[in-house]
Every structure is written in structure tokens, then in C-alpha cells.
Symmetry: D3
Amino acid sequence: MISRPDLPSLPRNIVDAAVRAALDEDLGLVGDITTNATVPSGAFAQAVIAARKPGVVAGVALAEAAFRAVGSDVSIAIEIDDGKTVKPGAVIARIAGEARTLLTAERVALNFLGRLSGIATLTRRYVDAGAGTPAKIVDTRKTTPGLRALEKYAVRCGGGYNHRVGLFDAVLIKDNHIVAAGSISAAVRAAKVAVGHMTKIEVEVDTLAQLEMVMREKVDCVLLDNMKPAELSKAVKIVAGRCLTEASGGVSLETVREIAQSGVDLISVGALTHSATVLDLGLDFIASPNQAVIEA
Amino acid sequence: MISRPDLPSLPRNIVDAAVRAALDEDLGLVGDITTNATVPSGAFAQAVIAARKPGVVAGVALAEAAFRAVGSDVSIAIEIDDGKTVKPGAVIARIAGEARTLLTAERVALNFLGRLSGIATLTRRYVDAGAGTPAKIVDTRKTTPGLRALEKYAVRCGGGYNHRVGLFDAVLIKDNHIVAAGSISAAVRAAKVAVGHMTKIEVEVDTLAQLEMVMREKVDCVLLDNMKPAELSKAVKIVAGRCLTEASGGVSLETVREIAQSGVDLISVGALTHSATVLDLGLDFIASPNQAVIEA
Amino acid sequence: MISRPDLPSLPRNIVDAAVRAALDEDLGLVGDITTNATVPSGAFAQAVIAARKPGVVAGVALAEAAFRAVGSDVSIAIEIDDGKTVKPGAVIARIAGEARTLLTAERVALNFLGRLSGIATLTRRYVDAGAGTPAKIVDTRKTTPGLRALEKYAVRCGGGYNHRVGLFDAVLIKDNHIVAAGSISAAVRAAKVAVGHMTKIEVEVDTLAQLEMVMREKVDCVLLDNMKPAELSKAVKIVAGRCLTEASGGVSLETVREIAQSGVDLISVGALTHSATVLDLGLDFIASPNQAVIEA
Amino acid sequence: MISRPDLPSLPRNIVDAAVRAALDEDLGLVGDITTNATVPSGAFAQAVIAARKPGVVAGVALAEAAFRAVGSDVSIAIEIDDGKTVKPGAVIARIAGEARTLLTAERVALNFLGRLSGIATLTRRYVDAGAGTPAKIVDTRKTTPGLRALEKYAVRCGGGYNHRVGLFDAVLIKDNHIVAAGSISAAVRAAKVAVGHMTKIEVEVDTLAQLEMVMREKVDCVLLDNMKPAELSKAVKIVAGRCLTEASGGVSLETVREIAQSGVDLISVGALTHSATVLDLGLDFIASPNQAVIEA
Amino acid sequence: MISRPDLPSLPRNIVDAAVRAALDEDLGLVGDITTNATVPSGAFAQAVIAARKPGVVAGVALAEAAFRAVGSDVSIAIEIDDGKTVKPGAVIARIAGEARTLLTAERVALNFLGRLSGIATLTRRYVDAGAGTPAKIVDTRKTTPGLRALEKYAVRCGGGYNHRVGLFDAVLIKDNHIVAAGSISAAVRAAKVAVGHMTKIEVEVDTLAQLEMVMREKVDCVLLDNMKPAELSKAVKIVAGRCLTEASGGVSLETVREIAQSGVDLISVGALTHSATVLDLGLDFIASPNQAVIEA
Amino acid sequence: MISRPDLPSLPRNIVDAAVRAALDEDLGLVGDITTNATVPSGAFAQAVIAARKPGVVAGVALAEAAFRAVGSDVSIAIEIDDGKTVKPGAVIARIAGEARTLLTAERVALNFLGRLSGIATLTRRYVDAGAGTPAKIVDTRKTTPGLRALEKYAVRCGGGYNHRVGLFDAVLIKDNHIVAAGSISAAVRAAKVAVGHMTKIEVEVDTLAQLEMVMREKVDCVLLDNMKPAELSKAVKIVAGRCLTEASGGVSLETVREIAQSGVDLISVGALTHSATVLDLGLDFIASPNQAVIEA
């Protein structure tokens, strides 16, 4: 019996590199000059990361890594794991350690956790809007430059699924590829010759006529671009299970349910990553640096 | 007579490094397998980057750098500079070059341009909301990890101003620093001893009582945290021009005008960078790869 | 009509980074002390890269990049492209430029070209051995650490095909994954839940009994591990076109034809990358540095 | 009394950087998707790295580093050290830890260990072929780009010796340097002026006439290029101990003994690094992930 | 009551990166070949870092990091902290660990500690020369390329203060900026428009006439370039506390006191970093490697 | 006839990496805020780098690379090459280009050129002090961390020679190595076994008795540590040309001539790199930004 892994693992080097880059830009050459000037190096403190708004948590490993990268002696207890929902006031993590470390790492930790949780939260809203239909909500390549691995992970935390990671791991033939290749058929066949047997092929179509042409080739998925729900339903019937169907374009929280009811397998939503806003979180000190020092 | 520089320069190494990282994550070890399979290496194409929604442009240098990093022979004409407003359909840039280059770099170019323009557009809305008041709209450190330089530049493109860059270039004394130092006075004096003469000092206060205590020290700016407009007006009167006043917390497009009318010098808005959504842009091919090849 | 791309493109940043690393280790902190001491900086030279043994060329872009990284004014004409066969004495490239540049970059250029051509040459021998059968020769992850992108490209130059690039772009369920998951069925289903819709799934089996179990799930490919040709034929019949079949293990130039005749779709050969030897190449000066200087 | 160090130390940063690069290319942005989907994060396992073929071990530190870089809690016991011979079935190392770690790091660990052991094994065969003669077997700069430090270490593990590391740590004057400098004498003198007193100088000659010219200068070593054994013997007599003699070119396992008997001090063999094939090794699980979890 | 932090913290990543780069250049691809050949890997040793000349200590964290980066088991006790004075013979740190580690890291550790202590020592001499006056001694951007953070820290250890870190954290308007902007007034106003409210502005003047023009604008500091003490006194009177005054140019240990007595707030001294010589330090073994091994 | 290369070449990647690091630390995330605010982007300027004090030039390539890295259109003419002497007022280089580029790169360019020229100048003083004797002045590993390649090049520009580059390219057996190995003889023999045939071996001795022991082994050089001139003369006689002799320790401009007259081959001087002060240089605008813009 296997405990089914609900979430992918974030490779450790991805986490470490992202946190390192964020700290480098915040600390510069001279570090946190305010904290170093005002907080004695012997002072300890305790704090919690708490939600200010409801949402779905994603990225606790990054927050943890931020504190540990600044001060090696900090102890962190994660109270709410990635993928779980939080209500306002919920404590996501408890941190204890040198007061300087907590103050210096605070913003980087919150910037990661807030952003990724924002993506997870928005994803969950799309997933919930399509609940009861077979359609999966999937992300796109419209991610923040440099943070794709983290943002695709956040989509999973929100209950969504991942489309291809980049230009390298799957084929997605769009209109300009077809024009350049001469025809849908020529493009698909060129792709089959070029890529390995472990690489899937998807073709984008704008019309049902194009869809018919794609169906003459064997592909893994067809992207139905900017079709209305009624047209999507027709497309699903034409495909008839011969490959996966993906609706894309014009998807919003208002339209997603109707699109999902068309019977498509997948709905890709750029907004998951390009238009999520931050989940409001805060770091609250439960033992002030000063008190802690007295107790220590 | 000097042509006043409306916008800061983006250091070239910042642009190059950001573009390089974004391309690395999109291309992986094997590149754009779809384009390489379907588009002949001899085909040329022309395209435009066009706005789909109204907004303010920011980041054309990044889009340009993305195309150039993929294919050295591409030619790019910027039609609308950073900081200018666009209407739907407006052409921001014209690109001509190898069709493979245009297709491979498209997403990275748009991801940068869309995100930064989104920040500039939201900033402009805040600036417009406060128009006619003396208050400047300023950003915070609530930026996307790894993209702070770019995002702070985008705020400038939208007509906003920049707060400190990181923890290293200015002092901002908050409540926990004060607790650790023992008093507002002790914290300010410790900071003055510690930092250089070219470093400014700001102190955060929650109440007018704290403000009075800050005024006993000479500081460059006081951050008035989460105060209502009426309280802000009182604070401005207490300060009486002895230092700059910054309102922070609870700022939204609905509240910003009333806050601005309190007389504060600055209003810092985390949302500029943590809750901007992308400006909708697209790459439209005006000469298809195939046609271009015939003409070439 | 599209000129079918026979070969994938090597991403420019992959080439540049590999060449940079190779030059760094050969030049150290002080460079080519022999050449700098003995060759005047004004001397020009011409040379050819010529094959000493028959084989298949792969990696001319790396050789070219090596010379250009050392001296920006060098001119290089590629006479024989990647993927072409050469006989002893054949001129692969002609290089003209500063004599110092040619001498300093020579070894790095030849190390790349010789090694990648060695892989292409060995691949071609496997491909030729299976000629006339439907089986494709594919590589494995048994590549030189740090050079996977280049070596997989060389396999393509030799007429082979690429298996998954790494652990990230396709699922390959092996015996230990099955043990951990509890059963073949549990492992396949767990993978389908976890990975995106653009990710293929392959399962490794040792016996026909296991193969029957895999066939109850829908997978993209089955890896038939260490089976004799007769057993492979039975496996191909059991699969009956429901997915791809890949033979693996115990493949040599002696056995590959018989394996290919079993009807499998793919034969993966670790030796392509882990046991190829270098193709013997040399840099021959056709105008000595001294003569060139006189003529210049 | 000193325990003579049979082997050089591999600098820790060289090992770490090589392992990091290899893992980066194998894990990409999303890691080992198969293992993460099928193996529960709580499962432990034990495995051995065992030889499948006879050979000489080299690179256990890299295998160890690969496992540790993936999972910090793994324990590793090296049973057979670098430089020792193994028979088929011999256990080189025992590894215990999280099953995910063992499965994810397996290929990188084996790729390093197999390649370096392959070089050590081939080196040992050359060394054994020349046993009883005074000639040392030495490597060349014909190493895999990016892995020179590791491969030169592997040559030492096989009983060979190292020639210069790169272009920077010793002078080797070849024919084109001589042409450029005007004469052997001019080249040697230019080198002596240019390089420091701790840098050795070697000159390559093709004929005994050239050798006589070299002997008029004081050099540390002379490289006798592509000479037959009889000519080598004459060269050794001409040199008469005034400097070291190195045979190079046309060296194979068949010819090395006769060359060694010519009396040369050194025989350099490019094949050690450019034509070694991998030593066949495997990772065998001795406690399956599932059993381990039950016992834990 | 706060224990006033006399010294800034050196960000950990700055220390680690500097030590890593220094070790990389000293160890190359093959490490400390002398120590590895002559010192058995089992030998332990103890040593002290002792001052040979009087001075002020700076950089013990870098020395410590150097030893730890080479061998993880070394133990280090800092006897004299940064900022403290030492007499010849004083023990700054005690180190115990593997003899190989101590010998291999010795030079890098001493190079950092000697150089930074040299800067601190020279700074202290300038500070002492101005003792009793209100003038602070401050550094400049004339630092060793790549080591600015460390050298500015060393200035603090010597009792000096830091001017701006780089071109990015404060405005310093010099003569050519004024020429380009058209006037002092135009330059100052352009700067105020361009930079954030947390950025200070300083203007350089050569004459009292220019100073008068600067005084019509509100600036944070005025740099009085190459003025004699008498002229400086006049300048201080003109400024009359409206901003800080900084003397610069022609400052030496002979002239600094007279300059300080002019009443300026700050004296910037390029020599602190561009002309400091190393503080003479040594590593003395108190238990030889051999003895240690016997005792172990 | 060969134009004898007086100076080694600085590898291009060393120059580029050093300049990049220096610019990164000076420009931070937002660049030269003063210049960008006050100098219009269309303004051109001309400037010269001129010597303020007499000395020897070293590092013009770094100054040139600094300007080019900031602005690609700058034109630079080197008037005085590395290794040449300059008098006060001498123009070393002429630079023309965008005024912003000249102002932004100025400090980094001067920091490199001033520091390296300072080393070359001090080296020349030592070389001149020993003129007429056979002794060569050589450097040590007491270089600025991270800048060893550049500083060793500067020593060459001053007429000095280079000792080993790092711990990796030559053996230098010191007292603690001897203690660990058990005896001088054991240490030398261990080194000979361990290192390649292209690696030289030097042994440090404190007494003539030790020297006699070293002479029983064949080594390339002997380091005579802290011996007085008379003792050095005796040592030279004992060695009698069997290897090189190097005097080290207690060398100053006052003592170097007498040491050189002892007949030693080499005198190593740590001060060349650890105690050189900057050569005073300046960037003088010969056409102000404003005038240039008018003319352009």
C-alpha cells in the first residue's frame, strides 16, 4: 500500500538557488543595516507566519529555506502543509531563533510564500469552479521569468495540473508552425521524425475543420483555441476519445464551468500564473526580541 | 539645457542575466523542439508585439534582449517606449528575423513585457487616483523574488517612485527594532552610529504618541502605519515639514485619493508589485514564415 | 514544402557554456604559456581539421565556438556538416586566423569534435547493423556527466534517436518503483495522477507475466529488459501494437540485428554514450605561422 | 614514518561542482517524477554498488557525493577504495537511506563511478603491459571537456601518472611553435625568458636530427613523436640521461611493451582518457523499498 | 538597554563567495600537491595565527571560513575579535584539525586577514590623528575590485565610517555631472526628480563660489574638493550646519589633523583602501603534524 | 626572427570576469543613479587617463574592458602599453564615447589600472635595486584574494618574474611538510612519487645544515629562508649550480641589493603584491559632456 504522493517534490537545488538569489538582491553587499544596528546579536525571538486572508498554502519550504540561509540555528515548525487551505489568523509556521535572523529573512520568506500561495489560491478557485466535471485545470508557460518550477509547483498545490514545463519536454504545434511546415499533416509528421518516442505531441486548432485534419494524424492532445462551449462540445464529439482535448483562451472564473461542461479533458488557464495576486500573510512576533533576551 | 531623464537606466547586466535565466528555464537542454522540427532554418518572418488591452508599457529592452539572445540577426524597432500608454491594438515593437528565433523567444519576451507593463499600468492607476495632490506613489520590497530591479523600474515607468532598494541602502526602523533597541530614541541613535552619512533613516510609527517621540530625533522620514486619513492629517501637522511623511497600509485604489489628500508626502503601495496582473499583449505574425521564405 | 530538419538544433547557450568550461580548465589563470612565449602576436596561420579515420561527424559547432571564444577574428569554414560520413583525410573545417588562437584552441576544439564524432560513429554502426528492420536505435541516460545535451545530439547525428532527456521529462517505472508502489498497476496509476498530460509513461518488465500485467494499464511504452530475441518476439505479439516496445540490455553490435528482427520498435543502447571511443581527428597547419607572417 | 599517499586528493570543490552539474542536468526543473510519484517519502532502502566486470575502482567520492547531494540523511560505507581491483560481483559500496534518494541519485553516481573506473581499468592494462620496464604510463590533455581533473585522478588510480594539467602549468613546444619562433633554440630560449623558474619545459621532436638540436639547450623533457622502438632506443642513447624522454604516438596495448623496452622514461597514451569505455557496475537493492518501510 | 553594535555584520554569502573564489584560484584543478604528497591524511595539528607587527584586527571570519571550507572538522577559537588592537606576538586565533587542512588553507586565510587588518590598521592611524576633532574618517570607492564589501567592513573595524557603497545607493554630483546638466541647480534638481526619497544627495565643489550656489539647493552633504584648511574653515562657516561637510583630496597622515580642525564633519581618504599595506601575520604550528599524530 | 614576447597574455576570460565582478559591485541593482539623472543619454565626451605620479603601467586591458562592458560604442586608444614607464601628466589612454559610459566606468577602470600599475611600479623599484646582479625578482602567493592572475601579470609588467601560480602547479616543501614526512629526504621522495614529471620541486631550508641534506636529493630549487647575505653566499657555494637558489624573507628595498649580490638566482618578495600602493592616475575630460553634445 502506497501513501499516494499528492504533491510533487521541489528539487532541493531549485529551492536553494531561488532563495539565494532573493537574499542576494535584498541584502546587497552590506546586509540588513537596520537590524544589525538596532538588534543585539545575542537576542532571540519567536514568531509565527499567519494568514491574513483565506487561501491555499504553497511554498513553506521556501520560507523555511530563507530563514535557514540567513541563520543556521533557527528552528522552524510547519503547522500547515502546502496544498492545505487556511482561514484568516491560521498559523502556517512557527519560527524561533536569533532575532536578527527572523527580521532579516522575513521579507524574502513572505515574498515567496505569499506569491506561491496566491497562485495556489487562484488555482483552487478555478478547480472549485469546475468541480464535478471531468476537466482538469492546467497551467501554461505564462509564468514569472525565473520562477517557473516554483509556480508550476504552486499550481499543483492548488489542485491544478501541469502542462509542459518548457519548449523542450513536449511538442505543441501552433498556427505558425503549421504555416511554416506547409500543412498540419506535414508539421505533425516532421515532429514525429524529430522527437523521441517519449515526447508527446499536441496540435492547436482554431476551427473544427482544422480539427478534422488533425484527427487524420495520431497525436496525443489537441488544443482547441478560443472556442465557445458549444463549439467545444462539437470538438469533443469529433475527437471521440482518440486523444485528449484541451480548451484554451477566454477562460475566466465566470466561464470556466461552462467550458468544463463541454466535456473537454483539460482547460489551460494562463491567469493561474500571470494574474494571481499575493495571498496576504504576515510575520507576527510572539516573543519580542527584548523579552526573549531576558528569558534566555 | 538638459533633456531630463524621465526614467532610470536598467543596467545592461541586470537585463542580460534576467533574460538568460528565463531562456534557460524555457529551453532546457534541447531547445524549442517544436519549432526546430517544423520550421526550416532558412525561413524569415516579421511580427509585431501588440497590446490587447490598454495600459502602460514597461520592459521593451527585455523583450528586445530575449529575441537577440536567441538569434543574433534579428532586427527590432521599438515603436512605443517604456512609460508610454497604449490602447488595444497599438504596436509596441516590430521584429524581423529568422522565423525560428521569433517563435522560440516569443514567450520569454512576452512574459517580461506583460508582467512589467502590468506593474506600470497598475502604478499609473494609483498615480492617476492621487493626481492633484502632492503625494508620490512609492513601491515596497514586496517584489517578486529575483526581479526586484526590473519591477522597481516598472514602477517608475508607471509614474511611481522607488522606496529603498533592499535592506542595505537605507534604514527603516520598525516596531521590533524599537523593542530590541529599548526605545525609539535608542534605535535611531544606534542607527546613526552604525550607518554612513549617505544613508537615510526612516522610522515606522503606529500612533501619534510614537510620532511625537520620533520627532525628538532628527530622521529623514516617518512611516505612518495603518492610520486613517484623519489621523494622517494630524500626523502631517505634527511633523510640520521637519521630515518626510509616508502613509502605508490599507492603501487601495478606492482609498488612495483620500489618503493623498491628508497631505502626506508619500504613499507606499505593496500592491504595485505584489498584486499587479499581466498586461495582455500578443505577438502577431504579419508575414508568415512560409510567405517570408518565398519572398526572401 | 518544408526542408525536413534532419538534426535538432543545439541551443546556443549549451554550446557556449560547454566551450567556456573546457577552455577554463585548459587555460587556468595564465593561459597557453607555450604559445604566448613562442608565437608572435602578429602571426597568422591557416589550418584544416581533417579526419584520420572513417566515421560520422558531430559537433562542428563546438569546434567553431572554441576557436571563436579564444580569438574573435578567426574565420572558419565548415566543409562537412554534422551527420555526414568522412573518410580518412577528409577536411571537416578550414580555419584561418591568428596563429596563437589556432594553437591555443586546438585541443579543446578537437576534444569536443572527436568525442561527439566518436559517439555518432558508433551510433551509425548500430543503426547500420539494424538496417532494414523497423527498430530505432535509442540512447540512454548513461552519458558523460555534464555533457548529456551534447551527447544526445551526437546520437542524432549518427542516425539514432533520443530516449528521455533526464528524470524530469518522462516516466520510466522500474522494478524498485513497482515494489515501492505495491504493484505494477498501483505504480502506473500513481504516475498518471502525478504527472501532466504531456508526459509519457513507460514501464520496465523482466518477464512476459509482468508484461501481461502492464498491458492491463494504458501506457505509452514498455521496456523489455534483458530478454532474448525469441522472448522479445513473444512480447511484441502480446503487446500487439497497443504501445511501443523497447528492447534493452545485452545489446551489442553482434546481437543488435537479431534483436531488431524480433519486431521491437526501439532498441536502447547504453554503449552509444558510455563506451564510444574518440574519432581520430587532427589539426593540420597548411600555412605555418612563420610563412603566414611573411605573407601578411 | 609517513604512510605514503598513493593517490592524490580530489579537491572537494571539484567533486561538488561536478556532481552538482550532473544532478542539475538529470533533474531539470521538476526532479525525478517517476520516483516521486511511486515511492512514498517515508520508505527506506539499502543497496550495494557492485562490479559486473573486473576492473580498477576510481571515483567512489563522486558516487558518495551524488547520494549526499540528493538526500542528506543517506549513509554510505565504501568497501573498496579507489585504486583497488575488483572482480565481478564485488561490492564497492553499501548505501542506506531514503529509497527516493537512492533511486534518484543512482544514475549520476554510476555514471561517474563507471566512467572513472573505466579509465583506471584501461590505465592499469597499459601499466601491466609495461611492467618490469622503467617506463611510466602518462596521460594527455585528450580528456573529456569539463572533467579533466577527475579523469587525471582516475589515471592515477590505475597506476598511471599525470602529464601537465593544462596549457598553463608547463611548456610543451611543438612543431608549430618552433616554426613560429624560427628554430628550436629560439623557441626554447623564448620560453625560458617567459615562464617562471618553477615551470618545466618539454620539446617535441620528430627526428633524431631535431633531437640533437634540442640537446644543445637545457630542457626538462623531450617528446619523441611517433618514433619506432628502434629509433626510440637511439634517442634514449643520444639523450643519455640529460633530460627525461617521453614516447608518444602510435601507442596501443599491443605496442606499449616494445616501446617501454626502448628505455624511455615515459609513454604518453591519449587512449587512457579518450578511448576508455565504462566499467560495468550496477546498483542492487538488497532491501526493497517496501520491505524497508515495514522494518523501519 | 542595547549592547551597541560596534561593527556591522558581514553577510554570510559575501564571506563564503570571497573565500570560495580565493581557494579556487589557489587550489586549481588538483589541489595542494605538496601537502597531499608529504602529509599523511591521518595527521592532526594545532596552530595559532599570531601578529608579527602591531595593528588592528579585521577579517577573522574570513580566516575561519577558509579553514572550514578546506576541512569540515577543524576547530577554531578566535582570541582577538575584529576591531581590537594587537601587539607583536599576540595570538589572534587558535586552530586545530587535520594537518593537511591547516597547511592548505593557511595562505588564503592569512591573505584575507592580513589585507583587511592592514586596512583597519591604517584607518586607525587616520582616526587617531584626528582624535579630539569632530571629523569622521570615511572611505571611498577606491577599493580593490571585487572586495569592496570586505574592505569597507575593515574600515569600520579601524574606527572609520563608510561613504556610499557604490554608484547605486547615493548621489554624488561631480564637476562633469554639473557641466552635463548645465548648472549645479539643474543637476541637483534632476537628481531629486530621479531618485527615491530614501537616497541622499551630495555635491562636489572646488571653490567657495560653487559652494554658495550649492547652498541655494537643499542637499545632504557637500564635498569640498582639494581645499586647504583655511578654505575649509570658510566653507564650514558658509554651510553653517545646513548640511554635512566633507573634505576630500590631499589627505595624508601629516595633513589630516589640520584638516580635521577646520570643523568639517567628514574627511574621506582614498588611501584607507588603495594604499594600505598588509598587516604582518603568521601561522605558527604549536604541535607539529608529526607529534600530533603520535598523540592522537 | 621572432618578436620576443616581453609580456604574457592575460586570458580574455580572466579579464572579462574580473571586470564583470567589479562592475556588479559598483552598479548594484540600479546602476549609476547620479549619471543617469544628470547626464543626457545623447551626450558624448572625450577623456584621457593620465598619470599623476611616475610609475610603470599595468592593466590597460582591464581599463579598456571596463569601458566596453558599460557601453559598447566607446572607442579607446592605448597610448602607453603595459610595462612602459610614465611620468606625471603622461597620457596612458584616450577614450571617446557616450558621456554616461565614461562617467559610470571611470572608477572601476581606474581601480584596476591604479592597483596593477602600483604593483608594476613597486616591482620595477626592486628590479632596479638589484640591477647588475644575476638575481631575478619573483613574486609570492601573498596576492589579493581573487586577483592572483592579474597581480602576477602586473609583476611581469614591472620586470619581475612569477613564482608558482598556486598550490597546484609546483611543489614547495616547507618545514611542516618535512616534519610530517619525517625527513627532508622522505618529503622529497614522496613528492617525486606523487607529482607528474612536468612538475618542479623546491625545498625550503632555514640552515646550511638543512641545505646539505637537500643537496643529497635532486631538486629544482632551494628556498633559503631568512638568511643573511653572508649565509646566502655560503649557501650559493654549497649548491654550486646543482639547482636554483631563492632568497626569501626580510627582503626590502634597502636590503635587496646586498641580497642580490650574494649570488642567488632568485629573490622572492611578498611586498610586491601585499604592500604595493596604488599608482596615482586620473580620468580627465578634455571635451566636457556638454560641449561634446553641441559638437556632435
